[in-house]
Symmetry: C2
Subunit: 564 residues, 2 copies
């Protein structure tokens, strides 16, 4: 066993040498002085008085400073495809990367549909931000506000927040006025649940929320498929529906309702989930509950005229034919109106009817369902509106920005972040930098670029482009940005997206594959490529081993159906 | 794809032939008549009226009948070491086995400590009751009452009951009077949440609850380690404590409190859990949070004079020395008095202090802790008291029982189940059959044996023996009983327990191993045997593959620390 090195007692240079890996974590604030640490405070004072701090702490500059060592600090907000990718790709010799995210891991979203039925285990679709080998620091919290002038982010801690593992559908502080928010932050600072983090560069990759279009009952009773917590709830729900249907006290009608599965959204997520659901029912549940299978139904609903719009006609039609053969109903031009607990025959919600739900579809009326999976629609992240949105005006020092027209740059201007009026997305230039619009009451509205603040992923869009909000775009942007920052050549050329194509699993070991240009394949070969591609893209060796192990084991022995 | 066979439409003999595996599941009651099914109703009538049944259903005789085929039905209550083992070992050609349990799986308890820190994944410690290959039927529910005369069990369904995956500490219907209980069952019958199941033989293996000795706050705030749901909560809690301690707003004092882990109970469960906790901290968390390790503490508390009492002096001392070297404090002769939320410095519970708790130990006073794991004490299952306990008097037909003294057997006798006055355990003879005591108001109290009802596992004890309440005893009894029933030779000889020894993991890849006779080994070799033994005993090939894969992967890459 190695001797315990009491790192806090060593001077900072030695701390770097003695730290066995190059992991530098934030040192906690201590009321007992550590040599040299507190004297480097950046000027903000604080005092402890019976456990209550009298001022919001801005001490992380101090804490991370000792591990900073002349590097610039890059703060990444978010741990999705854009944030996680850029954080890992940044050169740790040049940058001290700090990830701030309400969840402690990155979710490999293409495999979530598989995890939601047990084809893979949940952890094989996750990569923790903190590992023994990474060089990124991490705080688990929600970004709450950005101070562009002082280059700091306010963070609300989220260590015990379970909502961080599930699809988000609404602002967690919805309806809060500006005054209430300010008070909450003050109280939070005192209690230690809010703190500030300074940055040299900021990368905003907060992603999007799930859009329910205000459909009554969806937020409360539907299941989503955006994150691992969702996948877990779906898996438990499917299996509970079958187990409840197997009880001797369940009537035929209740069985049909329990085993009626509705999927809303005909894009790749909804289609792949329906395919996986079909697989588990026909490969495993049919053998475990042989007499219930006749009662089950899967239906995919979408308001559009056709599903899988990103695929060409021929492939989409192949998918439809496959679904038809598999018994999955595809209902385009259908509109979901509401969802409520209880069966259609009972008007009031009843807790004892195995939680059957009533789904109301405009073209079909009411029907009893066991589960509704909502996989459609992105809603802009409330953080963008709150912390960067149109109402907020910022003082931005001249050196922080570059203006298109230097003659039109009075100091009196305040600046707001440019966002898309319709979608609310943050608008960036083709170097992913935030765009600013100057306001001084007049009509001039000069535009500028904000240095050192970047936005990518679902929450942002390059102005005048229409790249879709997909993992592929986010990932390509992230790699591009990390490269530019590592080489310090962001002026060279802007980002361009290369469409590498799309894939979708459609059940029974068949898939669709469409290349970036044209042409595509379907069927078993596409499925092999589909699995191979995701295996290759899996981040860690751990999961590269576990994923094929689970594929093999679940194929040989069946998927596990325990619920806990 | 196989054509769907509509089994409900075939006569029963053909149903057996056409069912691809020999799985027979309960056919649900249908309001539409199925040929022949309803006319075989055992005399109890029912009618449906707007969705409400007017009488408790006893239809499962009908439903399972069609799959029964001259076999006797054995109903097993519980899915632990005793129940799961006997259910799997019974010959499905002779017996139709039906398992009734509130949880849908068997938990391999020796590996729960490993799962609770992530050395293994949760599902590697589970075996589902229903698989593609088993020949047992299953209902997910709580046994509520037994009618010995009519040979039936009343079951309350539990498909969505999450408490079934966690340690149980109190009767879920605590404080209910007999009248209330009767009403609940009536309402349940109408709603379909309660139903009856008839049996030819009944095996009671309901296990025990966890005993908190009424210690204030334990039930609400401590974590247990009896089942997989517990392991999951513990794992998330340990990691959350470290992540919270890593926030810049956490003070030194809060860190020490968050990382102060208390384990109550010095038996194998408590010791093994402390060892596993030590391992994850020193092998993984020390590298991920290098500066927090100095703050952590692990302490094991026990009221007894020494821990690991089932091991001989030398081995127990070796364990103590190992713990001392690992920095785990062992505090014997210590009494836990209470547990409350909030830190010792703040009297009221505060939701924002990262949920530090205050543990009060008589010999030490109050201290802040991040987590208390309670792994001591078994409490008799409330089902035993309610459904079989001393207050209940039963009519037991003469043919159902054998009396010791035939001359003393008036028909006027009512019978109660014999239980241990002090512990409440069910008393059985050495053939695991229930013992009865006759009551007629007089002092005579003749004793008898109840045929066809057996009890084993933690809830029962053979009269005049003192076999401990362990998995080993339960497992041996279960195999013995299954064998006797398969061979129909239960009169031959009674059950005898063969002590195969005990093992315990003590951290740092060291273990203790003590044979049934005397002598034992400790250290690395014992650890290899410890792992090998559990690997061999793992039930399914799936887990026999996954367990070593996870041991290898976690050793190479570290344990996963994502929380969701």
């Amino acid at each position: 066993m190695q001797p315990t090195v009491r790192l806090a007692q060593l001077p900072s240079e030695l701390r770097l040498l003695s730290s066995r890996n190059s992991i530098r974590t934030a040192r906690p604030l201590s009321s007992t002085s550590r040599n040299g640490l507190l004297s480097r405070a950046s000027g903000e004072s604080f005092s402890r008085n019976g456990g209550i701090l009298e001022q919001r702490r801005a001490m992380t500059v101090d804490q991370l400073d000792s591990g900073r060592d002349q590097r610039e600090r890059v703060v990444v907000l978010g741990s999705g495809w854009a944030g996680y990718t850029v954080a890992r790709a940044l050169d740790s010799k040049k940058y001290q990367t700090v990830v701030v995210s309400p969840r402690s891991y990155f979710a490999f979203t293409p495999l979530l549909a598989s995890a939601s039925v047990g084809t893979l285990e949940f952890r094989t679709t996750l990569e923790p931000i903190r590992t023994r080998r990474t060089n990124v620091d991490f705080f688990q919290g929600w970004a709450d506000a950005i101070d562009f002038k002082n280059k700091k982010v306010t963070i609300e801690e989220a260590v015990e927040d379970v909502s961080s593992s599930q699809a988000l559908v609404e602002d967690r502080h919805a309806g809060e006025t500006k005054a209430q928010r300010h008070e909450r932050e003050q109280v939070g600072a005192k209690k230690g649940t809010c703190f500030d983090l300074t940055y040299d560069k900021l990368i905003v990759t907060v992603g999007c929320y799930s859009q329910t279009f205000g459909t009554p009952g969806i937020k409360e009773h539907a299941l989503f498929l955006k994150d691992v917590g969702d996948a877990r709830r779906i898996r438990n729900r499917i299996l509970a529906c079958f187990e409840a249907a197997a009880l001797p006290t369940t009537t035929d009608e209740q069985q049909k309702e329990l085993l009626n599965f509705a999927v809303v959204g005909g894009g790749p997520t909804g289609i792949e989930f329906s395919a996986e659901l079909h697989d588990i029912i026909h490969e495993d549940l049919a053998r475990i509950y042989p007499e219930l299978i006749q009662f089950h139904k899967i239906a995919v609903y979408d308001v559009a005229k056709k599903v899988l719009p990103m695929f060409d006609e021929k492939l989409a039609q192949y998918a439809m034919d496959t679904f038809k053969r598999e018994g999955i109903a595809v209902k385009t031009n259908h509109h979901v109106e509401s969802l409520r607990p209880g069966s259609p025959r009972e008007k009031g919600a009843s807790a004892d009817d195995h939680q059957v739900y009533t789904l109301k579809v405009k073209e079909e009326g009411e029907m009893g369902v066991g589960m509704v999976v909502w996989s459609t629609g992105l809603m802009q992240n409330p953080f963008v509106a709150k912390a960067m949105g149109g109402d907020n005006l910022y003082e931005v020092p001249k050196s922080f920005r570059r203006i298109n027209d230097p003659s039109n740059d009075p100091d009196s201007l305040s600046w707001r972040v440019k966002t898309n009026a319709k979608t609310g997305s943050v608008l960036t230039d083709d170097r992913l930098r935030l765009k600013l619009v100057g306001e001084d009451g007049s009509d001039k509205k000069p535009e500028a670029i904000l240095n050192d603040v970047y936005a990518l992923g679902d929450c942002a869009i390059i102005e005048d482009t229409q790249y879709p909000a997909t993992a592929q775009v986010a990932s390509q942007k992230a790699y591009w940005l990390a490269k530019r920052l590592n080489k310090n050549d962001i002026e060279k050329a802007g980002f361009t997206y290369k469409n590498m194509g799309v894939m979708a699993y459609i059940g029974d070991w068949n898939a669709l594959l469409q290349g970036g240009g044209s042409g595509g394949i379907s069927g078993r070969l596409a499925w092999i490529i589909w699995r191979g591609a995701y295996l290759t893209k899996s981040v860690s060796i751990r999961n590269k081993i576990l994923i094929p192990v689970y594929w093999a084991i679940n194929w040989l022995f069946g998927r596990d159906i325990s619920r806990f």
